[in-house]
Amino acid sequence: MTTAAPDPNAHAIDPITFSVIKNGLDAIVDEVAYTVIRTARSEIVKDVMDYSAAICDREGRMVAQAKTIALHLGAIPEAMTAMLARYANDLQPGDAVIVNDPYEGGMHLPDIFMFAPFFHAGTLEGFCVVICHHTDVGGRVPGSNASDSTEIYQEGLRIPVVKLYEGGRINETLERLIALNVRVPEIVLGDLRAQYAACRVGLRELGKLFAHYGRDTARRYLAELLDYAERLTREQIRAWPKGTYRFLDHIDDDGLSPAPIPIQVAITVFEDRVSVDFTGSAPQVKAAINSTLSYTKSCTYLSVRCALTGEVPNNAGVFRCIEVHVPEGSVLNPESPAAVAARALTGYRVFDAMLGALAKIVPGRIPAAGEGGNTVVCLSGRRTDRSPFIIVDMICGAWGARPHADGIEAITNASQNLSNTPVETLEANHPVRIEAYELIADSCGAGRWRGGLGIRRSYRLLADEALLQLRADRMKFRPYGLEGGGEAMAARNFIEQAGVATALPSKVTRPMSRGELVVHEQPGGGGFGDPLAREPARVARDVWNGKISADYALRHHRVVVDAESGKLDAQATWTLRGKPRNVAA
């Protein structure tokens, strides 16, 4: 009948069946992701959506990925390898293996991976993987995400590769151990249950797929999905100019020492593959911004994927075309017991450096630097009734200008897909008042195309005291422009008490008292192309719309605009600019 997939040749790939199975897997993995968001407990999963989902084949290679946090998923290979090293021959239906240890395939302790093996007719045929950022995993600070820890042992509960569920039953010993070691056990256990519920949905749907097509056919098409992505990737790389392309970017500092942290990348384009070398990047640092190898690789894959055009599937076939070399003991491949909790920041800079190098390879396709990653604000303490609260809030973001368009403002970093927590939700649940959540005029890098504007968000504490942890960057090394575009405004942090504002460094851990207001300003995105080549009408429109000031228009673009009306003074502009350069209608 029409539902039975035709399989005229047991070794051939039928293009129709291939399309159907690919769509089917995309639908399954989205359904897994959807289940997580609907069943989880924490704001960081449900509102911020800091989690991800994937389907892997029986060898653990990722074949499908949900539209969630892109950066998590390139980390699956390392975690999967660690998981298989322990349990390859000891998995049964109903099991779910978890791990968060950065030195056993994890990324940082709050990210707990869950692998649920998929069995069909008695044999292992694949995995459903769900990764969630948990609100707290213990350690010296609430949220377990401090950037000023100096050893992994301070960062919280390290979970090696272990089974949380065995044969469908939860391991109560482990569950109680986790509950005892985290500050908000009901939320953490709730999110873990959400991960398991989502995995079960994925397994159920994979079961239907395998039952429909049969084991051999399903296996063959899963393998073809990887080959297909690999083919598409190699085909594109073949058209790239051969050679080695370098880019250097920096993290301001690690918060403990003022030393800048260089991230050096060299991409070598071979015939149909690339090799990425991070030699020259900083040695591992004392504070907790070291990026584990799995995370560094993940950022690298993601960056290359962004430079590909078209609908290349997001799977391990793409990874096959990318070699990654990271010196051991570096900030991108630290040795235990280096602290890693705030490694996301370093990942963002890897992404920025990679895009800077890729801009030399495929210049029409790569934007200037974005805001440099989301800022994490963690506020924790006790309410008047002594009940504890933890706010983990993420502030995003701006994209850099594109080769053919302005950058976007108020947008997740392109390497993530984060959301924000509504102000009213925060205020209803926590003793805090948000006093601003707004765009910052003039914060963009100027250019023929301008970067997106940065965002300001401020928090007034309504409890007696709390601990503030704030992790930002891009105060010293601002988001870069490309092709003559300007750098964006730097990030800023303040604390205000009784109307007096005091500047804070980019990375902060300090107590706050009632009535204090902490203000964070994110940088904007870098500009692209010569600011003097920007069409005056676009400049005037930005002034009219309150996105840049008339002064900015004059300074960066030599365009004269009336501050009040936003009207362009064309005569004065020509006089200032002289001969029009690169005028477009």
């Binding site: 009948m1 293009p15 594109r402 392109a414 008042r433």
Partner: protein
């Protein structure tokens, strides 16, 4: 309020003679009219849509239909209307110049949104432009805390100054959106009063009136959409009113709302945001009514048109409703797991999943050798390759033509001549050749991918909501629905398909089956415990009183109003809710305990687990329905003979890839009766084609619905 819309008024108008009602649906290609007579006769008319002035096709069509039938315009007692005015204003960015008045520090809530992108790895993505630009978003230094207390009082002079700015700038409509107004609306209402008093030309919408719920972005976005489309909707409805009056139709106009009910013109002119999804709602409401007759109280509604296919579900005789959706420009992906691509509307709407798979969806092979179908569509003009209007790219309709499912001479009751050779050429050259497949295999591929995409829309409203589609009936309409329904049903394990009578104008007919329905909501946000009863009861009573006032203004006595009380609940700490119906009208401890149990059951069904942890009650909702005594009941209808006429014959049809085509009987719809006929079978009528493959059988019920049962 006087009551030009009241049924009483309508009845007096019509007491002079016959009483007829009109349903009217504006589609991309056709404007469909259905005229309902008191004796059950139905008359159908299709007119070409007039995109520059959509009301013209409505008025001209009504005039022509009445003239043909020799029905006096004064006999029309009601016009029920699905309007695209609201959705078009957003799609075409043709709404009013819109301002926002908001709390200091929150000027950009509308533009910031929820930050996410609907795509990954796409550095060329563009975020939708906010409907109110930053210049027109002004702040005042007021502040209300999360508990409703006033942190900083509203300064009327600041509101006045903002109003002056709006007036200077030519802003026509303003959304007032203050932080935490869902707890305490005092400042919003005061600002609205000040603006309306000082600037009578400004149309002001306060967010607490549209959506008194937590979450500032969703509330602001919804309010801004309302403000943005309000002048267009008001203008459209008043023009339609004038023009209908000019042809002698004085009957009240009812607008189809997104929730599947109707709303009077007055309300639709104030809260157009409740009618953005007006069009598709009629078909779903109609399916629910039809299900009462055919015994399909739990059904999937499947509406396939030229550009998209839509799916919704009916549960226990009622359409499933969502309280939030995103209005998007085009359909970028069949995945529902995307956000940030459009404008958020947090209003009750029939929960419809839409995919870019319609008759006109284009099939193409990508660089890696993967076959895609849609979301790009050729539209009605030039249409599929076989339409001979200049398009050469292969579409789903072309695949159906190649396989023999569609009439090879003409479609649409003979009015649209087609050329199957053009379909064969397009499929063979652009799908078959690059994939190394023969013509029939390539056509099956295109059709199968389209079927899979449509099944995905159905999964979105069933499996993703914890519903098993196999237990449901598939109600298929729209031009293409019955062509694909049985194959789509098989993908999902569905055994029963209903192709309703009048499948081609079903949305317009469905509108005649609607009641007047209003949904009210109040934020509560408190623990669900036995002490909650008193407060909740008072709130529920207040909502009921408010609904009665609104419905009384539309001519409904209290005795004709039905209520349904619902609660949005979640486990403490979660941030998305499930809406659960209350079993009765009272909120005593027993009712609250029952509510808790019902939530846990619903949660278990949706997510596969539940727990005994405490619950938060987030919102209380009330649906109030004014029952229409003369609404269309399918049981008594009689169709004109022409609607079911057709030609009998046979043709070669390829039902399954790899199998030889079958010599297949082709019947006119009117030739089927209660005796099941086994497939293969093609049933043609002027507005659609029903495909009954081998392994399925079809029969007609008393009013002409085709029931297809699929063998296990």
């Amino acid at each position: 309020m006087n009551s030009p819309e009241s049924p009483a008024h309508a009845a007096s108008t019509a007491s002079r003679g016959e009483q007829v009602r009109l349903g009217c649906d504006i589609g991309g290609t056709f404007t469909d009219l259905v005229l309902q007579r008191a004796d059950g006769r139905l008359h159908i008319r299709k007119a070409s849509t007039t995109p520059d002035d959509p009301g013209r096709a409505v008025v001209d069509g009504i005039r022509a239909l009445l003239a043909d039938l020799e029905v006096a315009p004064a006999s029309v007692i009601e016009v029920v209307h699905g309007t695209t005015t609201a959705s078009n204003a957003i799609l075409q960015k043709s709404g009013a110049r819109t301002g926002v008045l908001t709390t200091q520090g929150f000027r950009d809530v509308l533009e910031i949104g929820r930050i996410r992108t609907p795509t990954m790895f796409d550095l060329g993505w563009e975020k939708p432009e906010p409907l109110a630009p930053r210049r027109y978003r002004r702040e005042v230094a007021e502040r209300i805390a999360a508990d409703g207390s006033i942190v900083r009082a509203l300064d009327p002079a600041e509101v006045q100054a903002a109003g002056e700015f709006f007036a200077r700038e030519g802003v026509e409509t303003v959304a007032v959106c203050f932080l935490n107004s869902y707890v305490n609306p005092a400042h919003e209402l005061a600002a609205k009063r000040i603006l309306e008093a000082a600037f009578p030309a400004l149309v002001v919408t306060a967010s607490c009136e549209v959506l008194p719920e937590m979450r500032e972005y969703e509330r602001c976005s919804t309010t801004v959409v309302n403000a943005y489309i309000l002048p267009a909707m008001r203008g459209y409805l008043s023009k339609l009113r004038r023009e209908l009056s000019a042809i002698g139709v004085e009957a009240p106009i009812q607008v189809m709302a997104s929730n599947g009910g109707m709303m009077g013109v007055t309300l639709a002119s104030e809260r157009p945001v409740f009618a953005v999804a007006s069009g598709p709602a009629g078909g779903v409401t109609g399916s629910a009514r039809l299900g009462e007759l055919t015994g399909d109280r739990d059904a999937i509604v499947f509406d396939m048109g030229g550009t998209t296919a839509k799916a919704a579900i009916i549960e226990a005789g009622l359409p499933a409703i969502t309280n939030e959706y995103e209005f998007r420009d085009g359909i970028s992906s069949p995945s529902r797991f995307i956000k940030g691509g459009g404008y958020v509307l947090k209003v009750p709407a029939i929960d419809i999943a839409e995919v870019g798979a319609g008759g006109g969806s284009i099939a193409f092979v990508d660089a890696g050798g993967l076959l895609h179908v849609g979301p790009e569509s050729v539209g009605a003009n030039p249409g599929p390759a076989c339409y001979k209007l200049g398009n050469e790219r292969p579409t789903v309709t072309d695949a159906n033509m190649v396989l023999g499912f569609l009439n090879p001479v003409a479609l649409a009751g003979g009015s649209l001549a087609v050329d199957p050779a053009l379909a064969r050429k397009a499929i063979a050259e652009q799908v078959g050749a690059p994939l190394g497949l023969d013509l029939l295999a390539a056509a099956h591929g295109v059709r199968h991918i389209a079927n899979i995409n449509m099944a995905r829309a159905i999964r979105a409203v069933t499996v993703e909501r914890g519903k098993d589609p196999r237990a449901l009936t598939l109600v298929a309409f729209g031009g293409g629905g019955p062509v694909h329904a049985v194959d789509v049903a098989r993908i999902l394990g569905i055994r029963r398909v209903v192709a309703p009578v009048m499948a081609g104008v079903f949305c317009a007919a469905g509108m005649l089956t609607a009641d007047v329905e209003h949904d009210l909501v109040r934020a509560v946000l408190r623990r669900l415990d036995p002490q909650a009863g008193g407060d909740l009861q008072a709130l529920a009573d207040a909502l009921r009183a408010q609904a009665l006032v609104t419905l009384a203004a539309e001519g409904y006595a209290a005795g004709d109003v039905g209520f349904e009380l619902k609660a949005d609940l979640r486990y403490v700490g979660q941030s998305s809710e499930l809406t659960v119906r209350l079993r009765g009208d009272t909120l005593d401890p027993a009712a609250l305990e029952a509510l808790r149990a019902d939530f846990q059951q619903a949660y278990l069904e949706t997510f596969g687990y539940s727990s005994e942890e405490p619950l938060d009650l987030v919102n209380l909702r009330l649906s109030a329905r004014g029952a229409r005594p003369n609404r269309l009941a399918f049981g008594g209808i009689r169709l004109e003979a022409a609607a079911v006429a057709g030609v009998q014959g046979r043709r070669q049809v390829s039902f399954a890839r790899g199998d030889a085509p079958l010599d297949t009987p082709v019947l006119a719809r009117g030739m089927l009766d209660a005796t099941p006929r086994a497939g293969p079978l093609i049933v043609e009528s002027y507005d659609t084609t029903v495909v009954v493959p081998p392994g399925a059988n079809a029969r007609a019920d008393a009013i002409g619905n085709l029931i297809v049962e699929i063998d296990p």
